[in-house]
């Protein structure tokens, strides 16, 4: 919650790649070993720094996608065509490589088991990354907080970590995955844009007073947050994080 952020100085640390595996048609989960990782809260992010041989440096932020209960730090990186950092992380980085990172950063867009529930997670595209950490933490901590997930992706193969999400759904996370560009062959995923009606149908109702987290591209977050306010959710109950 607000005000509990660590005031420790953030230093650049060396992270060693343990695995770099695909989790969708355009995203990979990079599992990192970070010596002396101080721990994180689900929803926090890290800054990644790359340095070229001529000294040029580039930095980007990535959400931590793994639970604090695990010793490694996972990042889910969506490959952005023509991007400067993400294609390097997805295409070039291999087991044993080292990168620099510092964190964890951010104390607002976080959910910890002590934060209670009910909780509504709403993701667009790679905005699922911080929620993967929250879901895994929810499971690992044995939290009884009631969770719902609404996730919008373009196509079935763009759904990040589909098998993990299905496993969370099987253990009781009320999950709705909706596709904007195609229906899934098995008919399990519905084809629909996230609009006010869908939000009214699947999001916790206003009287349940859910904590709501919305993460995704700007246009997605802007329209979802506005629709939620329109449905009667208080602005203070809605936390947003936008990916470009």
């Amino acid at each position: 919650m607000a005000g509990t952020a660590l005031r420790r100085r953030l230093i650049w640390q060396i992270a060693t790649v343990i695995t770099n595996r695909p989790v969708s048609d355009a995203a990979r989960r990079v599992t990192l070993d970070v010596a002396d990782w101080p721990g994180h809260r689900p929803g926090q992010h890290v800054d990644v720094r790359l340095t070229a041989p001529d000294g040029y440096q580039a930095q980007r932020s990535y959400s931590v996608a793994s639970a604090p209960e695990r010793p490694q730090v996972d990042l889910v990186v969506q490959r952005v065509a023509g991007g400067e950092v993400s294609p390097y992380l997805t295409d070039e980085l291999r087991d044993g490589d080292q990168i620099e990172l510092r964190g964890p950063i951010g104390g607002y867009f976080v959910w910890h088991s002590t934060s209670g529930g009910p909780v509504q997670l709403i993701a667009g595209g790679s905005g699922i990354a911080p929620f993967l950490a929250m879901l895994e933490h929810h499971e690992a901590s044995g939290s009884t907080a009631a969770l719902r997930l609404l996730y919008s992706a373009r196509t079935p193969s763009a759904v990040i970590d589909a098998h993990r999400l299905d496993a969370h759904a099987r253990r009781g996370v009320a999950t709705t995955i909706t596709l904007t560009r195609a229906a899934s062959p098995d008919g399990v995923r519905r084809r629909r844009r996230v609009d006010a009606q869908l939000l009214a149908d699947v999001v916790w109702p206003v009287p349940a007073r859910p904590q709501i987290f919305v993460c995704g591209p700007t246009t997605f977050v802007e329209s979802v947050a506005n629709d939620l306010v329109g449905l009667g959710h208080t602005p203070a109950s809605i936390r947003t994080e936008r990916f470009g």
Binding site: T51, E92, P235
Partner: protein
């Protein structure tokens, strides 16, 4: 010495090679990313006001109509977001904070800018005076869009952009430096992009 990343070449962006990108930043080009902690507020212009309050000889208040009558300035500046993007040559129009503080008696050294939805950010008074900060309501010759802070936001281009509070409704002057929203959540209390003051302790 930083760790060199095998086969990383990067894509250095500087404006005309002039090297005007602060460390760790990249040029976002024509994009204008939107970042905020919650939904976009919707305060009607009839309800909008702007306050100078706190340790002053008397609170000043302008309605939207009164604010529109104040002397206006045009500003072109580069802006730098702590999330790493920078945007060159953005053009704005609004009222200088010097104009808003004209005639205000105060012994304060700090201001806390406050906004709709309880967002706050703290700055030294010296960083919002002498032509260094504005309350702007127009961007690129158009009314400022709500997701970018409209109807009006603070503009303090020499600091990271979270200091340029969106949906700003006033400045509270104080003898004490009171951390604002992001500053209590681990971000740097001052935020100079050229010294890369992103997080507490930087």
């Amino acid at each position: 010495m930083a760790l060199v990343s095998r086969r990383f070449t990067g894509r250095p962006h500087t404006r005309d090679g002039a090297g005007l990108l602060p460390p760790g930043q990249y040029d976002v080009g024509d994009d204008f990313p939107v970042l905020s902690a919650g939904p976009t507020p919707t305060t009607s212009l009839a309800e909008w006001d702007f306050l100078i309050t706190g340790e002053v000889d008397g609170t000043r208040r302008w309605t939207w109509e009164e604010f529109q009558q104040l002397p206006r300035e045009e500003v072109t500046a580069d802006i730098h977001c702590v999330t790493k993007w920078s945007k060159f040559n953005t053009s704005w129009e609004g009222v200088s904070v010097d104009t808003l503080l004209d005639g205000v008696e105060t012994a304060a050294d700090f201001v806390l800018a406050f906004s709709d939805h309880d967002y706050t950010t703290n700055l030294p008074l010296a960083d919002v005076t002498n032509g260094r900060a504005w309350v702007v309501d127009r961007y690129e010759n158009e009314p400022l869009e709500p997701e970018h802070g409209g109807p009006a936001r603070l503009l303090v281009p020499h600091l990271y952009f979270w200091k340029s509070a969106k949906w700003v409704r006033g400045l509270q002057l104080s003898s004490f430096d009171e951390p604002g929203f992001w500053e209590t959540l681990g971000y740097h209390e001052y935020g100079d992009p050229w010294r890369e003051q992103r997080y507490a302790g930087d």
